[in-house]
């Protein structure tokens, strides 16, 4: 087993544990921290795939900016411990079947995909070292429309926040 494989398994386990912790933790700050753990584990997985830039941005944006704001807001509002309601009727009758369907679907597609990959022996592409330059060229030529639309979306969100904040004052 190679070192990369070991790191992959470790990060996968950490990511799943973090996700479980996110749902099960009753303290909102603990949930937020679990989510940070998931983000960091994902960033390491990106690193393993040779996408160092994406990995760095993943940590910088998600773990370093968005989640910090989450934690900040939780602290500011001093949100208390969550009250646990045993599964609501909606969760019991709709949620559990849907979750099972989703898991089966995912397992099937994984197994199916893996079978096909194994059939096309050796066709598995190794990690591609995508340089930042290649990435930015793609971003500003092929994907320029979604990229600009995203920035407009964020601009709208900022304006919305400003309007709401003005109303309070």
């Amino acid at each position: 087993m190679s070192v990369a494989m070991l790191v992959f398994i470790a990060c996968g386990v950490i990511a799943v544990l973090g996700a479980i912790g996110l749902i099960l933790a009753r303290e909102p700050v603990h949930s937020a921290l679990s989510l940070v753990l998931v983000m960091v584990a994902l960033a390491v997985l990106y690193l393993l795939l040779g996408a160092a830039f994406i990995a760095a941005i993943q940590i910088l944006v998600y773990a370093g900016a968005i989640m910090v704001l989450f934690v900040f807001v939780i602290m500011l509002l001093n949100a208390g411990v969550e009250v646990r309601t045993n599964l609501s009727r909606m969760a019991r009758w709709l949620g559990i079947p849907l979750a099972i369907v989703f898991l089966v679907e995912m397992a099937y597609s994984l197994v199916h995909e893996y079978g096909q990959r194994a059939a096309a022996a050796g066709a598995v592409a190794g990690p591609v070292a995508a340089s930042t330059h290649d990435l930015s060229v793609k971003l500003f030529t092929e994907f320029v429309l979604p990229f600009e639309l995203t920035s407009i979306l964020i601009l709208i969100a900022i304006l919305g926040a400003l309007v709401l904040a003005k109303k309070e004052a």
Binding site: A52, F53, A56, I59, L60, A63, M75, T132
Partner: protein, 407 residues
């Protein structure tokens, strides 16, 4: 030896990490000594004086004191987060230093040629920002998990401050990135090589002076230091986010703060001050600038002689004994630096560490001179002055780069 031959990179990395950790820990300890001495000098005091000659063993005494103090955990604290916060702060602060190269030369370790950096990444700069952006957690969680009024206020203040100033910090660096066209520290420094009119070094501080000012200001705020040390303002918040921390956990926050100071100084050196490049024209053989190769040795030998004379003239008996020995060691190391095999390797680290030291002095100087901001002033300064300034710098630099590409 079998393991060494099988995993050369791993073993060499571990050796480098061990050496770097030792050096950084010592540097952190003596940075506190340096700061106390310089601030004392500014305020016409002596500073630490009695533990060892001129208080040289004070950091060691402080460390031992912290280790033996009772470790009090507040009963209402959120245990896991409370214990996690100082580790997070220190670990993240030390990790960023792994990405900082200190010289261009490669050295031989166990028959492996290796660079003077622990981890060389093509996206080094952005990776460094990513890791340091996580540093907020240490402070915020410490404030929250203590479950006490002052730490919570300190934690909230520092989160708000660090989030605000991180924007300016990152934007002020983008100008350098646009000019250098790379996230790799080696490329960024390489882009600053050469001289204008054969004399002025092509360091980014000249075209990016605005960016440098923004960076320096935002960096002081990022590291929570005077005049931006609102998170731990003693007069208002006892000790801010680490009020409830005692013993070595308290020391860890302090070490993290000093490690962050070193990191931002290293970053400023790499980005704006030409990293390990000498300010003088290249010292080719026969050139009039050849003498600069002997500067590290000369500095050490002069320092050693000064130590010997100062020690012999001192009134403290322990200074009389210790300083001459230190001086002789300095002269020995200085002589070592004139060897043909050592001299080219030592040049990069010499200039790099020299510039970092100047910046650290600037930090301490600022602390000894400036009063603290008021909280609303701090926020207004960050958002209404620093951010627009760094944006103007960014737009202007972008314009110049585009125009240059056109022509």
């Amino acid at each position: 030896m079998d393991f060494v031959t099988q995993h050369p990179v791993l073993v060499v990395s571990i050796i480098k990490i061990a050496i770097a950790l030792f050096v950084i820990m010592t540097a952190l300890a003596y940075l506190t000594w340096f700061e106390r001495k310089v601030v004392a000098r500014i305020q016409s005091r002596w500073g630490p004086y009695w533990v060892g000659p001129h208080g040289l063993l004070q950091p060691l005494a402080d460390g031992i004191k912290f280790l033996f103090k009772e470790d009090i955990v507040p009963p209402t604290a959120d245990k896991v987060t409370y214990l996690l916060a100082p580790f997070l702060a220190l670990a993240l602060a030390l990790t960023t230093l792994a990405l900082i190269p200190i010289g261009p030369a490669s050295i031989q370790v166990l028959g492996q040629a290796t660079q003077l950096v622990i981890s060389h990444s093509p996206v080094g700069l952005i990776l460094l920002f990513a890791i340091s952006s996580m540093g907020v957690y240490g402070v915020a969680l410490a404030g929250w998990s203590s479950n006490s009024k002052y730490p919570l206020l300190g934690g909230l203040r520092s989160s708000a401050q660090m989030i605000s100033y991180e924007v300016s910090l990152t934007l002020s660096v983008v100008g350098v990135l646009l000019l250098a066209g790379s996230f790799d520290f080696y490329d960024i420094v390489g882009h600053q090589a050469g001289h204008w009119v054969h004399f002025f070094p092509r360091w980014e501080i000249i075209p990016q002076f605005l960016g440098f000012i923004c960076y320096l200001t935002a960096a002081i705020a990022e590291t929570n230091r005077v005049p931006f040390d609102l998170p731990e303002a003693e007069t208002e918040l006892v000790a801010g986010f680490h009020t409830e921390y005692s013993s070595f956990k308290f020391a860890m926050f302090f070490m993290a703060e000093y490690a962050n100071m070193i990191t931002v100084s290293c970053l400023a050196t790499l980005l704006f001050l030409g990293g390990w490049l000498s300010p003088f024209p290249p010292p080719e053989a026969g050139s009039a600038w050849h003498w600069q190769l002997y500067l590290p040795a000369a500095g050490l030998i002069i320092g050693g002689i000064a130590l010997i004379i100062g020690g012999l003239r001192s009134v403290q008996w322990n200074a009389k004994a210790v300083f001459p020995v230190l001086g002789i060691v300095c002269i020995g190391v200085g002589y070592l630096c004139t060897w043909a095999s050592v001299m080219p390797v030592i040049q990069g680290p010499f200039w790099f560490l020299g510039k970092v030291f100047l910046l650290l002095f600037f930090y301490v100087w600022a602390r000894g001179t400036l009063p603290r901001f008021r909280y609303d002033q701090l926020m207004a300064f960050g958002w209404k002055f620093l951010l627009p300034l760094s944006l103007i710098n960014l737009v202007a630099t972008g314009l110049v780069v585009v125009l240059r590409m056109r022509s």
